[in-house]
């Protein structure tokens, strides 16, 4: 049996009607990007969840490595100046 070329894998991101950003919905296979959009509509928006669909070929995504966790994602808990609550402002100043 000859090896058959497979449809590439695409990651799907959908922004819902009320949403402000695209959320990762899952992945699917398609022969090209246009088919990926339509497949995403069929597979991930069955209950009318979407308004905007982005698809990206999975092999075009660069991701951080799990081993990098330490230096890449050290929490900023001990960097208090990065949190808004660090700063004292008078209560009666508007628009803050």
């Amino acid at each position: 049996m000859t090896a058959e070329r497979d449809w590439p894998l695409y990651e799907v991101f959908i922004r819902s009607r009320q949403g402000l950003s695209h959320m990762h919905a899952g992945s699917l296979h398609a022969a090209d990007a246009r088919m990926a959009i339509e497949n995403a509509r069929d597979v991930y928006t069955r209950r009318g969840e979407g308004t905007s669909i982005w698809v990206v070929r999975s092999d075009l995504i660069t991701a951080s490595a799990p081993e990098d966790k330490g230096e890449m994602f050290d929490p900023a808990d001990n960097k208090v100046y990065r949190h808004p609550t660090f700063y004292d402002v008078p209560d009666d100043v508007e628009c803050l």
Binding site: W7, L28, H29, A30, A31, R34, M35, E38, N39, D42, V43, R46
Partner: protein, 258 residues
Amino acid sequence: MGAASTEKADPALFETVLRLGDNALILGQELSKWTSNAPTVELDIALANQSLDLIGQARLLLDYAGKLEGRGRDEDALAFLRDAWDFRNVLLVEQPNGDFARTMLRQFFYALWAEAFYGALQESSDETLAAIAGKSVKEMAYHARHAGEWVVRLGDGTEESHRRLAAALEELWPYTHELFMTDAADEAMIAAGIIPDVGALRPAWEEGVAEVLAVANLSIPEVSWQPEGGRRGVHTEHLGYILAEMQHLPRMYPEAKW
């Protein structure tokens, strides 16, 4: 504007609505057989969704038809307890799925027609039909787009896919004529502004078909047959098998409510 939907029996309108409902029901039923058998899981979901769309349209139409008939038959009674000679769908929709090329071409022919038909039906003087049309036209627009793209992929794909599509075109083309036929009952409904004149829809449909077939490297076959009869209850043997499967359970347990 226009007449409100009638509450009393209207046998002529009943027949008209039955024709539309039966198209959706039989096509939805036949298409659903691809479930768990499609070439990819994405297509499996797409075709199952489209079957559900069609069956949803059938429910609305048959529910309305039952009220128009005024003999107490609801959507279930109409779907499950009529025999083939009482069905009013066009012959195209009872043609078997065959291979994927046949299915996509059948879907394309029907969906392109239905998109145009429902589009025009939104102007119907019958409020219920206009409302059903408003919902259905969006679904059929998507079906037509989906199927049309697949006809292109298969026609302009590999040698094998092209060959299969060409064979499907030879077989299915003759059945498209029935979509545009009218009889005396239709003429009366058209005159009353209840259904659109399918004759007027034909040129645009043919253009849409020609466009897609051109990209698929195919041309209209030289076949002169124009089989018809479905709309007056004269069906091919395929319908019998579809009904046997679809109607078995309710017929076996006629008193049961599900």
